[in-house]
Amino acid sequence: MGAVQVFDAVRTPRGRGKPGGGLYRARPVDLASATLAALVARSGLDTRVIDDVVLGCVTQAGEQGACIARTAALLAGYDQRVPGLTLNRFCGSGLDAILHAAGAIAAGQAQVVVAGGVESMSRVTMGSDGGALWEPRSQWAHGVVPQGVSADLLATLQDVARVEVDAFAAESQRRAAAAQTRGAFARSLVPVLDADGSVLLAEDECPRPDATPERLAALKPSFEGIGRLGLDDIARRAYPHVETVRHVHTAGNSSALADGAAAVLVADEARGRELGLRPRARLVAAAAVGSEPVVMLTGPLSATGRALARAGMTAPDVDLWEINEAFAVVPLNVMRTLGLDPARVNVHGGAIAFGHPLGATGAMLVGTLLDALEERDLAVGAVTLCVAGGMGVAAIFERV
């Protein structure tokens, strides 16, 4: 039983996650099967060697119900002997799928796993799966607020100002535009085709290169209304010293809703060599954590800390970071607390520009990270995402 390695990563472009977006007419299962098929085509693998397909998907209702991973695999032409598993740890799901695969491989329960994620936010509305998390009893027990209020609470607690989150957002857009212009994603992007073979979407369509700090400053805070109605007071119950939540997040400095899918080929080192595959990186360490649910978005810090400790590393050992831009305050908080160089964080832009297809993003960030490490010939990368309900997940990769 050797190291767990990543051999390939593909993803669809991200469409706007609302009716009328570029991938609105694509069923989520078709997005997923496109990535599964591409991975196999590129590797030349016989699908019978694949032990499992594990996909993250958050809103598992309607078109995303009924274990979408299994149907996606079958529609992608995978052999019937390849099972499928769909999992949900909210925004961390895509990374969690990869870590689940790695765990099975490390335990000797599998040797080759395709892991990734899918989400069509335009066709399956976020939150349409319900859940006890949002019920009154959760309020009385620990308190639950929508993610945006948590983000504003975190900004208030950490004294992050509106100009700072807007500046971060503008920079994400600038880096995204630069990356798109030079074709930084060319080797990972898989265009999504319509039933007749025509192209539905080939490039990420969410970025707004015109998003300057001035334009961003004019946007209204998105969560002030619901905050003032009482959600700020639920936040205050957990943080009594916060008299007023400063609402700094807007549509411009928060992640956009998006549609997309991603798939990553994960295998045991020896088996990969046996199959003639060339590894890109190995998984060094990972961690999933729970954190305070009301502020919700501080999980990346403790998850990263635990993963680094397991890796025997410290933050300076990491060359590049992908910290999901659910809201601008999330990466800003991690960067400040760990003392990270902004030039090493989200170097190709992030979810503020590209959008955040919930179940897929974690896997997309792994692909983006590997592309960026290879482009710059750097060695160690970390991926981390904040997760609703007050959780976090992080993983550290090293190029091989």
Partner: protein
């Protein structure tokens, strides 16, 4: 009409020709309340109903006023065992279900107040017709008493009027007029009187309506949003957030009511009723419910009945003079005029009188718009004047001038010659001893304190203060007067600060002291509210103004009370004299204000604290604030200022906004137990100051294992 059933509490008659039965609630012991015997009697009547041939409809009426008041709280109070309580609730719900499914449409004819379980009885009917009269009110006020509806209200009301309106009514503990009930959908029709209501009901029955509730019919449904939908979830989330905003999470009753509505709403009615029953039992057997019921129902009822107090049927008061046209004076003038008294409002300033007159006019017009008496009728009873002679024939004076002893004595001396023979002189002072005020007053036996609370139209408490010379007759007449005003009285004896101001001063001063010591002011305010206090100490300090606060503390010291020194007092003085922060009326105090609205705590406050960064220990803050008040209440009891523990708790909750969820300062001490309270106070005395020294009575209670409220009948 044939008589079918004659019970002690319920009558059933049927008109054989029409096939319409009339079920009449007879109100044994005068009141229709859902006591066990009543439920049993109703159940028998419903069974008889179900056995009637050719039944086309049922009219449900009451023969007494109010229509039906809901649970018999005396009976409910006795049931401690959750299993037994669950059985009783189940029996009530079964009976209501049997009525609802009796096979004929049932119309409730509401010509009196139907509240709580009384309205739930009406909800189990298929139509509700209300007489449009001032005393006809409906609603589900259970949450205000620390319980939740247990007769199906959390399940039937949302299915009838939709989730949003149902939550407003249940969580807001709303009691509404007949016309507002119609607007909200709580009743289906209005009628000018009971005969007209009967006629309307008969006309409706003649259209052969369904004997089923709309949500139970195959074609029926519930008003949007669909239970379990995203919209319903968002509404519930908003309701939960508003509960936390309003209560800082201190009160469980609205929380459990929301649980019942949401969790029962997505099941069918029978299972939903079982969900309600489980949450009802959980809440009613909780210490919060028992504490709130004890104070807000039993203590309050005893106070309203003037138990143990001098009594007279008629105060002999027709003309009232209010002296001092400030905020309190204006409110008192309106209150007295609206209750039918002839009122003279006296001040030395025409400008003040004009402003007060405008206030009274505005209040009278607002009340008239809501179905109250015509504003002109109220205003006709009010005269404003600068002329002392206008007080001729006054039976009772309420003096509401500035808190200055010489000024008050001067006013009393100046005006007493103009009063009617046997007139009462009352002072609305919040702290100045009656004995001192009455010095030189010709008939001190008729001089007493009537300390009202602001805003006087809304605050139910009046603190009646006996001076050393005040006669029983004067007290009896004052109490009768207060009854007409609709106030809940506690009678206390004389001393600086009486009772409520002593507790209030302890609260606000402790808040200032905590800030001076370096506690985060935001935490001080939140911790107070999260413990159940109606308002944070710094906010309410601003309301009364730091100027008045400093003045009262200085006066307290002059009268031999606790010294006007210490870090809290010094902080108040610094705010007043170094930073010109006087309070809300001046636009800044502990908080900043803009356009009269609170904008936030002054950011400069934490710099005045002894420690930075500020301390954030909510538990310690809560302890300090509650014990500071509780120990003052014990001392007031010991000194004979307050008569009995009930008065101390009622006065604190209704007058000072003390946490109702723990019942009051003395009930709170009981819950901790005297032994623990003494230990806590010793620790606080050593670390925070001698004001916390445990009173000897508490030590004795610890030694004898006694408490303020032994748990037998209230």
């Amino acid at each position: 009409m044939d008589a079918i059933l004659r019970g002690a509490e319920v009558r059933l008659d049927v008109d054989r020709d029409e096939g319409v039965a009339t079920l009449t609630l007879d109100g044994a012991r005068g009141v229709n309340a859902l006591r066990t015997s009543f439920v049993t009697a109703l159940d028998a009547a419903v069974q008889a109903l179900r056995g009637l041939q050719g039944l086309t409809g049922v009219l449900l009426e009451s023969a007494v006023q109010p229509w039906c008041v809901g649970a018999d709280l005396d009976e409910l109070w006795q049931v401690r065992d959750p299993a037994r309580l669950r059985e009783e609730v189940a029996a009530l719900q079964r009976m209501l279900r049997a009525l609802e499914t009796c096979g004929a449409p049932v119309v409730a004819l509401l010509d009196g107040a139907a509240l709580g379980g009384g309205y739930e009885l009406a909800l189990a009917c298929h139509r509700r017709v209300a007489v449009d009269r001032r005393d006809v009110r409906v609603g589900l006020p259970e949450v205000a008493l620390g319980v939740i509806p247990g007769g199906g209200g959390t399940q039937r009301l949302p299915r009838l009027v939709g989730l949003q309106t149902a939550l407003e009514v249940i969580l807001g503990a709303r009691v509404v007029s007949a016309s507002e009930a119609l607007a909200l959908g709580l009743v289906d029709e209005l009628a000018p009187d009971l005969p007209a209501a009967r006629a309307s009901a008969r006309a409706w029955l003649a259209t052969k309506p369904s004997p089923q509730q709309p949500w139970e019919r195959a074609s029926g449904g519930v008003p949007p949003p669909v239970p379990g939908s995203a919209e319903a979830r968002d509404l519930a989330l908003g309701a939960a957030a508003r509960i936390v905003k309003r209560t800082a999470g201190a009160l469980r009753a609205p929380q459990l009511a929301l649980n019942a509505v949401v969790e029962g709403g997505r099941l069918d009615l029978d299972d939903g009723l079982a969900v309600e029953a489980a949450w009802f039992v959980r809440q009613v057997t909780s210490s919060e419910a028992r504490a709130m019921l004890r104070t807000l129902w039993f203590h309050k009822r005893a106070a309203e009945r003037h138990e143990g107090l001098p009594h007279v049927d008629d105060a002999g008061v027709r003309r009232v003079a209010v002296v001092g046209a400030g905020m309190m004076g204006a409110g008192l003038a309106y209150l007295a005029a609206s209750r039918g008294f002839q009122v003279v409002l006296k001040d030395v300033s025409e400008a003040a009188l004009a402003k007060a007159g405008a206030h009274v006019t505005a209040r009278a017009e607002a009340r008239a718009a809501k179905g109250g008496e015509a504003a002109t009728a109220v205003l006709d009873r009010l005269t404003t004047t600068v002329d002392a002679k206008a007080l001729a024939g006054t039976d009772l004076v309420i003096e509401a001038v500035f808190e200055d002893l010489e000024l008050k004595r001067g006013v009393a001396r100046e005006l007493s010659p103009f009063l009617a023979e046997g007139a009462l002189w009352t002072s609305n002072s919040s702290a100045l001893p009656i004995g001192d005020q009455a010095e030189g007053f010709p008939r001190p036996e008729r001089f007493l304190g009537l300390h009202f609370f602001s805003p006087v139209e809304a605050m139910p408490l009046v603190e009646v203060i006996r001076g050393p010379a005040t006669s029983d007759q004067a007290v009896a007449r004052a109490l009768a007067f207060c009854r007409v005003l609709g106030k809940v009285p506690i009678v206390v004896h004389d001393g600086f600060g009486f009772y409520t101001t002593r507790v209030f001063a302890a609260y606000i001063l402790e808040g200032a002291t905590l800030v001076a010591e370096g506690h985060d002011p935001a935490v001080v305010e939140w911790a107070a509210r999260a413990a159940g206090m109606a308002v944070g100490p710094l906010q309410v300090f601003d309301e009364v103004s730091l100027t008045l606060g400093e003045h009262v503390l200085a006066e307290r010291a002059r009268y031999g009370g606790a010294g006007a020194e210490g870090p809290g007092v010094r902080l108040v003085q610094r705010l007043l004299h170094e930073h010109d922060r006087k309070g809300r009326a001046h636009g800044r105090g502990f908080y900043d204000y803009a356009d009269g609205k609170r904008r936030g705590l002054w950011p400069g406050l934490t710099a005045l604290g002894a420690v930075t960064p500020p301390r954030r220990d909510a538990h310690h803050v809560t302890e300090r604030l509650l014990y500071a008040q509780a120990v003052e209440a014990v001392r007031a009891l010991d000194e004979g200022v307050v008569r009995r523990p009930q008065d101390a708790d009622l006065g604190a909750v209704l007058g000072v906004g003390f946490a109702p969820n723990v019942g009051g300062p003395l009930a709170w001490l009981d819950a901790r137990g005297a032994t623990r309270a003494v230990a806590d106070l010793e620790r606080l005395a050593a670390t925070a100051g001698p004001r916390y020294t445990p009173p000897r009575r508490l030590r004795e209670m610890a030694a004898e294992a006694t408490c303020f409220f032994p748990e037998e009948a209230p």
